[in-house]
């Protein structure tokens, strides 16, 4: 190799390649009123993404033996059984609520804002994606996420979560969970189409007397952005183990910095006075 060619190759390392062209934003609409709790999404996700098992254990309190999302579980079906335990309490008829939980792919994602390496990005489909060749396992995203989605794998030391089947989308395919869902509880598509469809669905349900149906994350709320993977729910969010009003950590960062810097500079100035004055 000539010296010139070698120099060019060394310089290439520092060049950032052009990002892929922006595509139509995609996401999930998970309609929990259609979920039958078959867990096909969990299995399809594990299979396509080649995720290992988590060590099987019976919870003994519901059909939910997956328990939570983790670095190796990117879809998790929650089972809520609302049957009065001691003959009273609930205002509604006894019912099952099932919800296939997933990374929310926030429009403004706290994990992406926290990530110090730039591993977490919004890809060309507007999905939040962990670049595995960049992540160094600092675990800041783990504590930044208000939904407790991200986790670090103990084997490879890196953060993992739902990729919204980036690889499948690149080939124009539907993500594995949505593809396998037998009741179309998990719907995949352009996010604007999904939001419109979800609004119509809520109206339809309200028309049928199911007035407790509402959309979780279809629109921004206060300081928190909309979610590109949003849900149709039938009860309070914490019933499904979702936060009622998630906070955006960065929203208070500036004022935290200000008071912290004020104290530091204040103490420095006071000490300067002490040094100037001496022991007089």
């Amino acid at each position: 190799m000539s010296t010139d060619a070698f120099t060019m190759e060394m310089l290439d390392v520092w060049k950032r390649p052009e990002p892929p062209a922006q595509q139509v934003e995609t996401g999930f609409f998970t309609d929990t009123t259609l979920c039958i709790g078959c867990k096909a999404c969990e299995v399809a996700c594990k299979q396509w993404n080649q995720l290992p098992g988590d060590g099987f254990h019976w919870t003994g309190n519901s059909y939910d033996n997956t328990v939570s999302l983790s670095a190796t579980t990117w879809r998790h079906v929650a089972f809520v059984e609302q049957f009065p335990l001691d003959g009273g309490g609930n205002s509604h008829a006894p019912r099952w609520l099932m919800m296939s939980d997933v990374c929310k792919h926030c429009v403004q994602a706290p994990c992406q804002e926290a990530c110090p390496t730039g591993s977490l990005i919004y890809n060309e489909f507007g999905n939040v994606y962990v670049q595995q060749d960049i992540c160094n396992g600092c675990a800041y995203c783990v504590v930044a996420c208000p939904f407790g989605v991200l986790d670090r794998n103990r084997e490879d030391g890196k953060a993992h979560k739902c990729t919204l089947c980036y690889d499948r989308q690149k080939d124009g395919m539907t993500p594995a969970c949505a593809k396998s869902c037998p009741t179309e509880s998990i719907q995949f598509g352009p996010i604007e189409v999904l939001r419109e469809r979800a609004r119509k669905r809520v109206e339809e349900l309200h028309g049928r007397g199911e007035t407790d149906a509402y959309l979780y994350g279809a629109e921004a709320s206060g300081e928190y952005s909309a979610l590109n993977a949003f849900f149709l729910l039938k009860d309070r969010p914490d019933v499904y183990n979702l936060p009622e009003a998630p906070r955006r950590p960065v929203a208070r960062m500036r004022s935290n910095y200000l008071s912290s810097f004020a104290a530091a500079v204040g103490l420095a100035v006071i000490s300067a006075f002490c040094f100037a004055k001496g022991d007089k």
């Binding site: 060590g55 519901s62 809520v80 992540c135 600092c138 009003a245 103490l267 300067a272």
Partner: protein, 345 residues
């Protein structure tokens, strides 16, 4: 229950203990936490302790150099050495904490003001050069070296290193760290107190230091202790119920006895009882300040674990209010707004 196959996640380990048939009666979703446990432990607690001494000693040395009219040569020299000695363990501690230590330099592949951890990595880089230069030239007694200029040039980095640990923790979703505006102030003032304590010990031990130096650094130590006590009250008051893992949890003893009694109360007692404490009392009060700050940082870092795994705290941290109505039955607002409200300021 011991899973038969290997467990790849901390999350699985954490929740497996909680899933029992009895949990069916618990509030929320079978008493399971919403959040994931922080993966930061002793490395980060020790890092916050060590980098606090380093940046605080750097600021005090530079102030003494700029405003002391040449009176505090021995103190400045001691502070420069302390600053370097405390900075040395910082990079290894941070690297050891990573899931992929060999990729530590990925922290520096971008510059990202949104991420306090990224900014902290740059500040650590920025501070290490002046700290090393000043300590080495002090050791070699190079008279021509522009100490004041270099010292002043490193000040922004030193201030950032002093101020950012609490802000880093507060820019998360963990209630005990995030539901307050004073965690940055608390850890920053505590860092300054440890630096003043370390300098007071050095001044008491250094045969070249004089009575005036000891008196001035002792005064600064008292002031920083008062500031730390004020910041601690502001933190506990502003965090309210979110401070529960610290005030009532597993780390309550360490937080109360360590941070409050050992770190602030006893050093104050030493000062109050004797107008001009002797060498032994100065060293004792300095060591108490250091121990107290270590207890404070250790308990604050570890209380995050309890806060994340407490479902009641999770719900409290994400409760709806007028600013953040959240998403609930009957709150369909239909604004069509996808992005969040503009950041304040």
């Amino acid at each position: 229950m011991t899973p038969a196959t290997p467990v790849f996640n901390q999350a699985t380990k954490d929740v497996v203990k909680r899933v029992t048939p009895e949990a069916v009666r618990e509030e929320g979703y079978y008493g399971l936490p919403m959040l994931k446990r922080p993966l930061w432990g002793w490395e980060i607690a020790l890092y916050f302790f060590s980098e606090g001494i380093s940046s605080g000693a750097y600021i005090l040395a530079t102030m003494a150099d700029l405003c002391g009219s040449g009176r505090y040569a021995s103190l400045i020299r001691d502070a420069r050495y302390i600053s370097l000695a405390a900075l040395l363990p910082c990079p290894p501690l941070l690297i050891a904490d990573l899931g992929r230590p060999e990729r530590f330099h990925h922290m520096l592949r971008i510059f990202k003001p949104h991420s306090p951890m990224n900014m902290g990595a740059w500040a650590l880089m920025g501070l290490s050069a002046p700290v090393t230069l000043l300590a080495l030239t002090e050791f070699a007694s190079l008279r021509w070296f522009p100490r004041r200029v270099v010292g002043l040039a490193g000040m922004p980095f030193a201030f950032f290193m002093l101020a950012y640990p609490g802000v880093l923790l507060a820019t998360t979703s963990i209630p005990v760290w995030a539901r307050t505006r004073f965690l940055g102030t608390l850890l920053g003032t505590s860092s300054m107190a440890t630096a003043a304590g370390a300098l007071a010990i050095a001044a008491a031990l250094d045969p070249k230091s004089d009575e005036e130096t000891r008196e001035v650094i002792h005064r600064i130590e008292n002031i920083t202790n008062i500031a730390e006590a004020a910041a601690l009250s502001a933190y506990v008051y502003s965090a309210g119920p979110a401070a529960r893992p610290l005030t009532k949890g597993r780390y309550a003893t360490m937080f109360r006895l360590g941070a409050l009694v050992v770190g602030i109360g006893l050093p104050a007692l030493v000062t109050v009882t004797r107008r001009k404490p002797g060498r032994g009392a100065t060293i004792a009060s300095g060591l108490l300040s250091l121990a107290g700050a270590l207890a404070l940082k250790w308990s604050v870092v570890h209380a995050g674990h309890d806060s994340a795994l407490d479902p009641e705290m999770n719900r409290y941290g994400a409760r709806a209010d007028s600013d953040n109505p959240g998403w609930r039955p009957g709150t369909s607002v239909r604004t069509g707004v996808m992005r969040a409200r503009q950041l304040p300021g």
